[in-house]
């Protein structure tokens, strides 16, 4: 029964990939999106990364359907710290919960948290950077020194401090905090881009024609900063998912019994010597996720930036 479900999932993934491929190589009007996709598709590693991300997304979206057990159910006391077997693919943790199902659900939670947090950070970073870059002057200096200050504190220190001081964090506040501490880099990037765009003719022309600031920002600046922002966001997801895991690993992230990749590792750490599987498997999923995001981000950067020469 479960095998059938997994086959269905695989078919869905294959269909999605095929659709993307057709779109990239399809005939007809060559839009910018299509050019980008085609360039992206020419990087084998980036394509693999994209497939991995789609697999992760589908698997996590259908985790209730694909899991072999209830992720928070305590199976039996005798099954605590049970090594991986046919029945329990990734073994069980100290309480006797199925690690495989917990990893499936945990991936879903971790991915959702990371995606939401990254959205917050991207919106905030773009708005902040665009404001500073567009208005310029003293405001720009003050705003950027603030960013410097935040960037000079390692993000994990900031997160540990906030997570410890305001424990326990609900999932909502965790997302907010991860998002609110991840935008500094993006804002720098956007500001730099806006500064260079501001000097270009089209902006000067629009201004000469009497366009209002807001309209200039919306019509000319934002569309042009989109590419670096998308790249930053893709790379940002990797950073956020790892930071969330680190917090949960330290016991100040997502609370029990809800699984997240980090808190499964947290549960496995005291048993590293005897029940290594609890800490190992969620970590592998984390690495795959972060690796795929990094590769996809690289691919996107190459694909979207016309100045990039193929290396």
């Amino acid at each position: 029964m479960l095998a059938i479900r997994w086959l269905c999932a695989a078919a869905l993934i294959a269909a999605l990939c095929a659709a993307l491929r057709r779109f990239a190589h399809g005939s007809g009007r060559t839009s910018r999106a299509r050019v980008v996709l085609a360039r992206y598709a020419s990087h084998p590693s980036a394509v693999i990364a994209l497939v991995a991300l789609i697999v992760l997304y589908v698997v996590s979206a259908f985790s209730p359907w694909l899991a072999t057990h209830d992720p928070i159910e305590i199976l039996a006391q005798a099954l605590a710290n049970h090594p991986p077997s046919r029945e329990l693919l990734f073994g069980t943790d100290f309480a006797g919960r199925d690690v495989f199902s917990r990893v499936l659900y945990g991936t879903r939670i971790s991915l959702s948290v990371a995606l939401l947090a990254t959205s917050i950070s991207v919106v905030l970073g773009t708005a902040y950077g665009a404001t500073a870059g567009f208005i310029g002057g003293t405001l720009d200096t003050v705003m950027m020194r603030l960013v410097d200050a935040f960037l000079s504190i390692p993000r994990i220190v900031l997160l540990i401090a906030i997570g410890t001081l305001w424990a326990p964090l609900s999932i909502t506040s965790l997302i907010l905090i991860l998002g609110l501490t991840a935008w500094f880099g993006t804002s720098r990037l956007v500001r730099a881009e806006v500064l260079s765009l501001k000097e270009r003719e089209m902006v000067a022309a629009a201004r000469a024609l009497g366009a209002r600031d807001l309209a200039i920002v919306r019509r000319h600046l934002l569309p042009n900063v989109l590419s670096p922002v998308i790249v930053a966001a893709t790379l940002g997801v990797a950073g956020v998912i790892v930071n969330e895991a680190a917090l949960s690993f330290l016991g100040i992230g997502i609370p029990d019994p809800t699984p997240s990749l980090g808190n499964i590792i947290h549960d496995g750490t005291p048993y590293l010597a005897t029940a290594w599987w609890v800490a190992l498997f969620p970590g592998i999923v984390l690495v795959i996720t972060a690796l795929a995001c990094n590769l996809a981000g690289d691919g996107l950067r190459d694909a979207m930036d016309p100045r990039q020469v193929d290396r």
Binding site: S45, R145, L146, D148, A149, F150, L151, S152, I153, P154, R155, I156, V157, I160, A161, I162, T164, L165, W166, A238, V242, A245, A246, F249, L250, I265, T269, L272, A273, W276, A279, L280, G283, L286, V287, A290, L291, C293, N294, L295, R311
Partner: protein, 322 residues
């Protein structure tokens, strides 16, 4: 040049002031204070009240802030309540350990990263290039704490070769000679430093590779190649020399990443350094210690950035001329 330096220093100071204020506010608006940390033990309320009074904790926030900035300006970092010593003394003990870890990590990861980058650039497009980049990126994507855990699993539990905690074998250390003691200390450094190097060398390798490729396309390299100079000589004399400069500036920019990684690595490997003491200080609401250790960390980062800027300026004649 001097004006540039003065300007950057001033900006750095402003950044540090913002950091100090931020940490202060963050700590003081959070619930609890240094005296709510007694574990499960109960200390008489009158004793707690006495100490709260001594450390101004019963005064309004503004007064505490003034008190804090005042002593900071005098160079007094305050008194750590949880460690019961002046913060300065604690930093003297703990900062060098983090610097040791970081500088070893930085040197090794630059050595490995540059070597990888050069090799990748020379053999660009080959299987070795792809493989090396893939493996480096694999470690780069690995969460630092999990990498540390896995190193412990493999090299301490499965193959008991290296210790996973502390700075020396305390029971045997007094009987060791100088060299034995150094060897023992290095053995304790192996796993944490390995974790740091694996984590960061990918970024350096990629930067080095890109810088090499930029130079390779330049005319003088093309000319040298046309003249029939051997590929390895080109790499040595022309490409590497010109590609090394930008990478030096990278060292300053790598600091935040290394310091952040060091926090979790120190926690996993019980390395008594800055990250370790900061986490401990947060856990016991030791205001003075938290603010100072965060301040020291960001001062390191700021100093790194300024150094990178200056190096860059020195290397670039256009900036130097100003």
């Amino acid at each position: 040049m001097r004006r540039l330096l003065a300007g950057r220093l001033l900006q750095g100071l402003a950044v540090l002031w913002v950091v100090a204020t931020l940490t202060f506010v963050l700590l003081h608006i959070a619930p609890g204070d240094p005296y709510s940390y007694q574990g499960d033990r109960r200390v008489a309320p009158e004793v707690v009240a006495h100490w709260r009074h001594v450390y101004c904790l019963d005064r309004p926030l503004a007064a505490q802030y003034a008190c804090y900035l005042g002593s900071l300006a005098r160079g007094d970092l305050g008194f750590s309540i949880s460690q019961s010593r002046p913060v300065r003394e604690i930093l003297v003990d703990y900062v060098p350990r983090t610097l040791e870890l970081m500088s070893l990590g930085l040197i090794l990861s630059f050595a490995v990263g540059i070597a990888l980058g050069v090799l990748e650039a020379r053999h660009r497009g080959t299987f070795a290039d792809w493989g090396s980049r893939g493996i480096a990126l694999f470690f780069y994507s690995m969460p630092d704490f999990w990498l540390a855990l896995m190193l412990a699993l493999v090299f301490a539990y499965w193959l008991p070769i290296f210790p996973i905690s502390g700075i020396e074998n305390v029971i045997a250390a007094p009987t060791y000679s100088g060299w034995q003691r150094l060897a023992d200390h290095l053995r304790h450094l192996v796993l944490p430093v390995t974790a740091l190097v694996l984590m960061t060398c990918a970024a350096i390798a990629r930067f080095q590779r890109a810088a090499m490729l930029d130079v390779i396309r330049l005319e003088f390299v093309v000319a040298a190649r046309a003249k029939g100079v051997s590929e390895s000589a080109i790499t040595r004399h022309h490409v590497l020399r010109n590609a090394l400069l930008p990478i030096i500036t990278l060292a300053g920019l790598m600091l935040p990443m290394l310091l952040g990684g060091a926090v979790l690595v120190e926690l996993v490997f019980s390395w008594p350094g800055m990250g370790f003491i900061t986490a401990m200080a947060v856990g016991s609401r030791d205001y003075a210690l938290v603010t100072s250790s965060v301040l020291v960390t960001s001062a390191l980062v700021v100093a790194g950035t300024i150094a990178a800027d200056l190096l860059y300026a020195l290397a670039d004649p256009r900036v130097r001329a100003k």
